[in-house]
Symmetry: D2
Subunit: 160 residues, 4 copies
């Protein structure tokens, strides 16, 4: 019973920047989250990219797909920026023998009010429970990436 | 898409007591947790009991089963003390047309290091994803209540 | 025994902004901080400005000085951005009959790792304890604004 | 500019115990608090006792006094249980050449709602600012230990 986790950046991993400093997507925050909890399964975390998802290119998505295709573990979580999480999920659809859960956060994991820990929990609960496929785990729900969108005004993912 | 949540007490809801004060299981902490997050589904929370699970009786379990049997919502989470969570889960097995997820926490939700938010996330992710049945969601895993136990020394739930 | 608190903005009050949203200095975070604590003194909080301190003008400082001069309470804390906190402190020097403590934070109060609560504590402990004058309370120290500077590389205030 | 910190136990350092586990006063929490902050002064922390302050004896207080008398540093903070903090402060009065600040917390430092970080801040701000003597720093105020009491019903220290 093993879980492979890839981080590619996004708000969940953002660290603070002030007006005189450079902006930065930091260390995979899912590592800090899981390290602080009594976790009963084996996992491995690998940082593939550290990008705001608005900056992610088609090339980045091909790279992610290549790495996930080569990954022997069948249970996979990807922490990703929310703005283009759905696009990446669609690119990953059709991979055989894998249950892939994309999640992220509306607020950086270092915020007191962040949804990061909860979202990671939702992704973990769903990845063990669902058949192979690609899913988006946000706002306490599990979405089919071909039938959802991010509603920026509401700050929430919803069905289309 | 609606979730019904019952709280019956346990460590997750414990509030502080000092040497000169009375001990107390407080308000359902899952309510505070969900209220602080951008949740995309409808839910309703009902407090059935406020007990340390070591104090829970057969009568308490019959009462919980009666209430859950009468509950029309098919997706159910119960926050429960960890010491006898498995016993309650077994009592609830066999109810038709319901996916019931029991969860709780090793440390009170008000602790900085608590596993409560994560565990609630795991239960939420799993309750939408699994077929009808009764499950225990602890330590980032989903257990069959007839094939797990709480390992007190390790502070973790494990397979039997 | 009363404390008057003015907020003028700065990192301590910053709220999150993502790439597609507008930037904002939010509500005075010292209000949330004190409201959550068992405080044994009377206080009043007034928001004068909501500015990144790099955007603060001479006119802003004249306005702050005017308001503080008119303030009858003799014990005053100002939450302020760290980049020009020292300049504002110097402008306020020479006001009779007032003990004025400027503080702020290196990280927004909403960050888990923020220094905001601690810094507010230091300012409160010092404002009751020192003779009239203007002081900067940062990094657990109380500085004379004419003999300190912000060391940006180290992220710390220090003596000059 | 150096601060010596002694911890003797109390609620601030309490770690969780459940119904089947032994009770424990843990590691000095002030160490974790200060280690996570951008602190601009030198400090040293020493754990003298790990006791609920209700269990503290006259012998314990003599031991604390002996250690503090022998301490060369003139600026001292003691983290202490709140129930008998005032008694210990009185025992320490009359020591020459030292500014001694006793503080603690109404809730363990590991609680999300704990007053520990704030109280430590208040003690730090006051210890640099006040003349030699013994003081109690609680609820954002600095008390003379001969003119205050803990109001248990209100959960607050107050003047007598």
């Amino acid at each position: 019973m093993k879980l492979k986790i890839f981080s590619v950046g996004g708000t969940i991993d953002k660290v603070y920047f002030d007006r005189l400093s450079a902006y930065e997507v930091g260390f995979p925050s899912i590592q800090t989250i899981l390290a602080g909890l009594p976790i009963g399964f084996e996992y491995e975390i690998e940082s593939l990219l550290r990008k705001d998802s608005l900056d992610m290119t088609d090339g980045d998505r091909r790279f992610i797909k290549k790495r996930i295709t080569a990954e022997p573990c069948s249970k996979i979580i990807i922490t990703h920026g929310t703005d283009t999480m759905i696009e990446t999920a669609r690119v990953l659809s059709g991979l055989d023998g894998k249950c892939i859960m994309l999640t992220g956060a509306m607020e950086p994991a270092n915020f007191k009010s962040s949804d990061a820990i909860f979202n990671v929990g939702v992704a973990v609960g769903a990845v063990w429970s669902l058949p192979d496929g690609v899913y988006v785990a946000m706002n306490g729900r599990i979405f089919d990436p071909f039938r959802c969108r991010k509603n920026r005004e509401m700050g929430i993912f919803e069905d289309t």
